[in-house]
Symmetry: C4
Subunit: 215 residues, 4 copies
């Protein structure tokens, strides 16, 4: 992985993103699978008990898995633009992982409360937090490009467009919180829209659509 | 891991499969070990209580571990053919991981229900889902080879043969679902056969048997 | 990752730190997320029950996550200085991981005991242990530099300064244990100070501040 | 990680051990930390309840952590000799991981049974199984060296010596099972001896002691 000889300059180089990636992968792997532990055997045999007790948990798990998966894919594309990482990027990444790790709980909560106004507002709040974590990480990446002089025009344009996409999501999630008290299903539509923007990683990012998704 | 200099073309390259691998490894590592948490100390000391309470859980765990291990090995060989990944491959991989993560629960269920018809059908259904996830991922890999012009004859032949093997498994699992209502043990034979095809990664794949397994 | 040809000298080389990194990342990923399992749905619906039951667990989780995150970042910088690892480094690393894995429990304990003297002393003791684990690992790294002749002046100076920082933390934590019986909040101030030294990885390390943090 | 150009021979190369390593690291990371979940808050405050309820769990955890850590280090050195992996190696590795994952449970069992004869025999049996898994993996590695013509004299000598060490451990564990019915503490001495052989990875391996441990 690293050459056995000493580098010509004696100072150790800033770390490559490989460890940020493997740590994030480990944390997200635990987050994405931890809800499997919630699956309990139904109290009685037969299809009826199976459907009543297993299907709702399965739906919650699928929702949480999908959401976390979308974040993982976008994290993957964001970090792939980096050659080196610095401390602000590492801390912003920890912030994002912290926010994401609350998602399984928020998903359980909104479903156990049967989508009442407060629980939908809590769920929108958690999505707002995770979105904020991503925007902060993306800003730390942009700052790194500028400070190290490694900013090429394509990466900067991608970062700028991704920032706009991030703020649009944040606005949709923030709006969903008061809307949950007016009508939860309109808030839910906001939430779905705010997340749907991120399903295709290159959506709204004209340049990288060519180079990243269609490659 | 990555060179410090800017690439000559400014657009970031499509990501290498290293992160898909490390994320999948993390998720499968959690899936494969999560059933250890189900091991409970027997309620009383001595060999009898040990055998009655520990051995059945151990059998379930061994079954689930083996099945997940076979999937990991075949996933390993499939991803090893790739140089780059795109968004459809990442999503197909998430789908496969989701399906696989339900396996420990399905295994517990079929054993707690003592192999009655419905539970065997549920188990076959879960194997059908996981098999479908693998076929979808394999199709995304083939599509990637064609779109990027990186398809060499050996890889394409391997993919095609693996696709046939996948559909054969799916047919066996699909057949097992109605058969479970006729006679569970015949359904179980279908299931064992459908999975047994995958124990040797190169089985039914004439070319790669030389290059992958016997290397 | 490794070339297919045999190396010119027949003895296998000492391992690169890549596996130490990926194993540590896996263990720390489990440690940092394991407290999510402590989140329980509140016993009744509505904001009041949410605030009473969820917010304290959230605070504990945030504290434990932050602390573990700071360790991960400093571990990252320490291991980044290495080209090869030896058995003492591997064992010192296991010791550090063991100490860190007790942190979620110690955090739960100090909060469930409402910061009484004994629990604060236990918490300071756990931080002392983790700090000791880090100092031992750092010493194993310095010893490795000397034994293999791979010590360059910059790395040695960084190691020496990091050692001083480590001993300062240890002194603060050790002092916090008896202070907890005099006044817990003064002990808590010691703890915060001892940990705060490590937030910026390059703090008190004049050379690497340039090359690591500001890169 | 992999070059973008096609290799000159069209067949995909046998996979490098990087994924075997990262998967094993993930599984062992979960195994080694899973016992943290067993830590329960003591039922009442104060030092007495802390010592009565926490210290025994801590001792069990430390024992299981140490044992798993020793296996991880030896696994690390074994896999470091490999350039490529084949299917038998992957399956032997899964077998070893399965055996290791039963260790936390066996450790809990022997302590909850207060070291009575049967529980010590169960514990020795689990260590025998894990040792067998390691010997099988080591044999798969030796077979791979012979079949691929990548066997150099140093690696073969190391493998042979490691095999002898493995069989010595197995004999000690096997002997511990009947001895547990005669006198548990003599069986325990056998167990400690059989494991102690592996603390220094290069012990009884004359060549690699130079190149691996003292590097």
């Amino acid at each position: 992985m690293r050459p056995n000889t000493l580098p010509t300059n004696h100072a150790p180089e800033a770390p490559a993103p490989s460890r940020l990636e493997s740590f994030s992968d480990g944390v997200i792997a635990v987050i994405i699978t931890i809800m499997v532990l919630e699956f309990k055997l139904p109290p009685e045999p037969g299809p009826r008990a199976f459907i009543t007790h297993v299907i709702p948990t399965l739906a919650v798990y699928l929702l949480s898995f999908t959401y976390t998966g979308i974040y993982w894919i976008n994290h993957h594309h964001l970090v792939n633009r980096l050659k080196r990482v610095d401390a602000p990027i590492l801390y912003a990444n920890l912030l994002l992982l912290f926010c994401l790790s609350l998602l399984p709980f928020a998903t359980s909560y909104v479903l156990s409360e049967k989508f009442n106004s407060f629980s939908v507002a809590v769920y929108a709040g958690e999505l707002f937090l995770s979105g904020l974590g991503f925007v902060v990480l993306s800003a730390a990446v942009t700052r790194h490009f500028h400070r190290t002089g490694t900013a090429n025009p394509v990466n900067l344009a991608t970062q700028k467009a991704e920032g706009r996409k991030g703020f649009l999501s944040l606005a949709l999630y923030a709006l969903a919180m008061p809307l949950a008290y007016w009508h939860p299903s309109i808030a839910a539509a906001n939430i779905v829209l705010g997340t749907g923007l991120w399903i295709v990683p290159g959506f709204m990012l004209p340049v990288s659509r060519h180079s990243e998704s269609a490659d």
